[in-house]
Point group: C2
Chain length 323, copies 2
């Protein structure tokens, strides 16, 4: 009997997404970082996203509860950032065993409430339910100026490929990036409102998994220049920094493309606006979706194969434990 | 060390709800069936709700998967109905073990997609994640004409208390009401748009648990006439029909109040509009929140004590297995 493990998250989504009914008021349905809904008369489109954090998968029993709460909100906020939007409201589903210490539950909410204050979010409510595993499911609603949401599908041939910050090692021993990352809200809004980005997503499952998703949505290929990929400090401490930068999850940096005619203006404006946050060019989009290559420092070229985290597949670990 | 079991769901909500940050655009925050958000210029307010269904709690491993999917959507739709609203969009978080058979996952989505078609919902997306228990978390977004959402807090002294349909036994052996119930969408919209209902909620955890929640929100008491409570066929087959009508969960009927000046007009209009759906008067609201009584067929009176399902408390079972 076939199971989820046989087809993985990507296989499941490929099968299900075309079946989901849509209303005519939804310019972007499932498959991007957020759905986009258009309201009559409104100067803003609405953004909707939902994300879980699950014990022993996204955090450990010993992870400080307030950081788990923060992470749960930050993941959903990062999806809004990846559309160029502004987050407004969240809903929270808590699942917990009945014997969960109250101090732990209070810690989760302390973290979520602090995050809501930080990003000026209203907490609209949610649900609490008994279950076997501690989980938070966060739904976030945001807005973006009408028509300016940046989708995964807008990359075209010769557009330059960029990434913010540095990649890899978010969950390595000693690294707490997967708990403490800053969703790139200001950067995402800048890229959308100035109309610099032609396509955008956040990197949550690793560049090697998420870049192919952007390319699939855009029906394009790419040359990825591996020597250009910015490596996090945690990744650089390992014996295989590039592997970590490609395959680790939970970076929550922005991956985006810029049309050739805008590159010069974009790079100058970015430098002025975000002097402390690098935006690094790591490749170029190609016309054919079948052309997906990595070019290495020594001049050799290898195929770009998906290699990050994918739910349900047996060979990829979840975000590994911090110590 | 204190755990969730020591304070129950109600205790947890009492502690947390006042702490959750709100934005000024939110006339109704957490604590009602839905949150209500007001958008500038819009003739409609937005409604937001989120609900989980969890294996071995809301359904069993042998429950047909398409009915689980239907139930997940119907629960959230019932929350929209309880505000008098119209559901528009949903998001779905799936949690599943990697060895879940694909046929089961496809069954869940078959049920959810059919439900989305039935209630004209767009499925905006969601997330899929590996976990130890099969779960669906549904967020529903709806709308209601501006200012007409019916809250739990509007009951006043001498308002009449009504319930739709019949109560009890939704999960008793042989009963599949908890899977097949019809959210009272048309009834809810009628009660809101005609401005008949002063307070309203859906009964999901049993009348004895949910009526006190409505009374708490309204800061009122009540006389509940137990002889008037409409008993479901499943409850009537038991030795303690009234106990089941009071304490079983998953009725998903509407509980609402009507001001004395509107009762006559309301009852006539209801009869015309819903000839096949009873709305039964089961009591009267009292001014003091400390006056909460049940009056029985023999004329005796006993206190109304909360007695339905409450998450995290050890003494109440979840929706018990259908056979």
């Amino acid at each position: 009997m076939k199971t989820l493990r046989d087809i993985g998250e990507n296989g499941l989504l490929r099968e299900l997404l075309p079946l989901l009914p849509q209303r005519s008021d939804t310019p972007v349905g499932p498959g991007d970082d957020c759905a986009v809904v258009r309201l009559p008369l409104s100067p803003h489109d609405r953004l909707f996203t939902t994300d879980p954090v699950i014990e022993n998968r996204h955090f450990l029993p010993k992870t400080p509860a307030h950081l788990v709460g923060r992470k749960a909100i930050a993941r959903a906020v990062s999806d809004i950032a990846a559309m160029g939007g502004e987050p407004l409201w969240i809903l929270i589903n808590l699942v917990a065993p009945g014997d969960t210490p109250l101090t732990r539950i209070r810690g989760l909410y302390t973290g979520m409430i602090a995050a809501a204050h930080q990003w000026n979010l209203g907490i609209l409510g949610g649900d609490t339910s008994e279950g076997t595993t501690l989980e938070l499911h966060i739904t976030a609603i945001g807005r973006v100026p009408r028509g300016l949401a940046v989708l995964r599908s807008g990359a075209r041939a010769r557009h330059a490929l960029y990434v913010t910050g540095a990649l890899g090692g978010a969950c390595l021993p000693g690294a707490r990036h997967h708990l403490l990352f800053e969703p790139r809200l200001a950067a995402g809004r800048f890229l959308a409102e100035e109309q610099f980005a032609s396509a955008m997503m956040d990197i949550s499952d690793g560049l090697a998994t998420d870049l192919p998703r952007l390319l699939d949505a855009s029906r394009r290929g790419c040359f990825l220049e591996t020597a250009a990929i910015p490596l996090s400090r945690a990744a650089r401490k390992t014996e295989a920094p590039l592997h970590h930068a490609l395959c680790d999850g939970e970076d929550f940096e922005l991956l985006f493309t810029v049309a050739p005619s805008k590159i010069e203006r974009f790079e100058a404006a970015w430098q002025r606006r975000f002097p402390d946050l690098p935006a690094t060019r790591i490749g170029t989009i190609l016309a054919s979706p079948h052309q997906r290559h990595m070019r290495h420092a020594d001049g050799t070229t290898t195929p770009l194969l998906p290699g990050g985290y994918q739910h349900f597949l047996p060979h990829t670990p979840p975000c590994p434990p911090e110590p």
